[in-house]
Amino acid sequence: MSTDPPAPESGTVTEDATRHEGGTELERTIGLAGGLSIGVGTMIGAGIFVFPGLAAGNAGPAAAASFAVGAVVALLVALPTSELATAMPKSGGGYFFISRGMGAVYGAIVGISLWLGLVFASAFYLVGFGEYAVGALAEAGVPVGGGTMVVVLGVAVGVGLTAMSVTGTENTAALQNVIVALLLLLLSAFLFYGLLDAVGVFGAETVPGTFAPEGYLPVLTTAALVFTSYLGFAQVATVAGEITDPGRNLPLAMVGSVVIVGIFYVLTIFVATSAIGSAALEDAGETAIVEVAREFFGVPGAVAILFAGLLATLSSANASILSASRALYAVSRDAIVPAGASRINLKYGTPHVALALVGGPVVALVATGQTELLAEVASFLHLVMYGLICIALLVIRREDPDWYDPDFTVPGYPVVPAVGALSSFALIGFMQRSSQAVGLVVMAGALGWYLYYARDVRLKGGFGDE
């Protein structure tokens, strides 16, 4: 390892622990399966269970291409992120890399934007959960109408999840792994049947209709919209300090989870548009995939997918809330926000202040019920970070400091990080004006905070000088 280890979370990284001077060790407890489960679990809730209807409505069957574009952009960023993460396997993910590579201003903007980006993402997942909960109630013969009830259920669950995060100490990681495995199995069976159906095994071959009925611009705007489905790999980086054998498991978990969900997304859109057509998907809205399952398997299929959707959106929301709390910890550790923000209580051992600073805004945003706006702002804030991660890699590689010794190096350097940065920023350009405006306001707020509170913080190359 480096002789001049990164501050402030310095220490020697081994496969199973980080050892600090003074003899204190931090155990690494998340293996490859756990890392993949965080990545896949965070992502799959959105791409399959919320977006198909919206995406097919915008782009027709070409929405499959939108998801493919998203997957390519995500991969172009996941590779540079993997390299940086193996060189700096610390909590904080993208914030940590950017603050160390490019300095405190960028760090502060990204760190605060990451927290709020995850807040927007969590709110988006919770609205999705509300849609599924209402759908499930309707299936059970309790039609409760749309709109208001979706928001009410989303808010209730948001409050519940936050409270559970503060007081719950039981090990939910194992549960999360089981849920993700179950979802992947269920979806595999569903997609397998759907593909056979689409190619005509069960009767006439079904055609998805005109591939891109609206032309090709909607393919890109839809890619920008659905990019929220690819935010999870960065959440793996936020727990980089807890991943065992980080040199191997971090790249595998990040790249692997993008590849897995990318394949599932593209196939899902293909199957869905083949089965009931884009127009019907659009009508069904956020729970469109349920109608596809109903088409294949009748009521049992619809119930199974409703259940899966509840689980998936819930686990995505939960994972994002926890990641957002980690993001706050990372910036408070560097004194960009007051240390009190990440204080933990001895009774439960949980960061109650940070969780409240996440749960509060999440609930407020859920109350707006704006699925698309929430998703795009979340993507906006993440894409800014992704672009800067790629740039941070270019900067660090050029400066080549002594401490920089990644176990994984990005293939195709410098093309991959350069294209990754450009495509991340480009995708932002295809978003709706309102989303861009909200995103810019958040970033401006972050900059304002930095100028007001953290102007003296120096982090660039700050591996020795804290």
Binding site: D16, T18, G23, E25, L26, G168, L322, R326, G349, P351
Partner: protein, 279 residues
Amino acid sequence: MSETPPDERPSDGREEPPDGRPSANGEEPVDGDDTPPRDGHRVLVPVEILRGEAVPDAVVEALASVSVVVLGYHEIPEQTAPGQARMQFEERAQNELADVVGAFEAAGAPVTSRLVFTHDPMKTFERIAVELSCDSILLLRAAPTIDRLLVPIRGNVNVEHIVGLVGTLVAGTDIEVTLLHVASEPEAVDDAEALLGSAAETLAGIGSEGERIRRTVVVDDRPLETIAEVAEDHDVTVVGESRPSIRDRIFGDPSELIAERSVGPVLVVRRPYLELDEE
């Protein structure tokens, strides 16, 4: 961590170890953090620091003749990054750990210590036990006094290492040892007697007078229940690990019953050491 040289060892009324017994103190490496004890035993003692878990005096005394690794650990839920807990609690935890280490040093045991913030204490126990070559791990419970040790012995294998450790612990003390074998059928009683006989001999050979060693053979088809029942009359139970890891041993394993029902501490002898002896 520092170690108390033998000549500074406070007199606690113990006899000097008889010849032939591996010296637990003298051969310790000077700054022996990571080097395994050459032929002595090393016990891992996990202490849940910051939650007020204390090491009973009787335990400190009983371990005075072996090398000890005090593992101060603080379990944190997964909502919390370990570094977050370290930032806030490290100093306090180090202080509490220093107190525990001080108690062991005062009793004369060579002590090494570690402080770990972890989501998964079992994984941490296992890792530290391997890193620091601990042949056994002591699961703490309340122990007002330690007068009687229960050593259930399952079969012919593994006996030597377990008995060696027990012998080292009890030599020079008044602790009584019960060797227990639970036979599943009456026909096996003779074999069991022979097994316990040779174990008792080994024990006596390393410094335990014969009258302090009791041998009990019980015929019962529920060995674990029986062990747990007998353990109620004893202060500490010494068991050999029967699965590959301490994690299994505690959570998914027969001895869960022993550890759960035991009101006193349980000393688990790790499997790699047992297998070594089998060869």
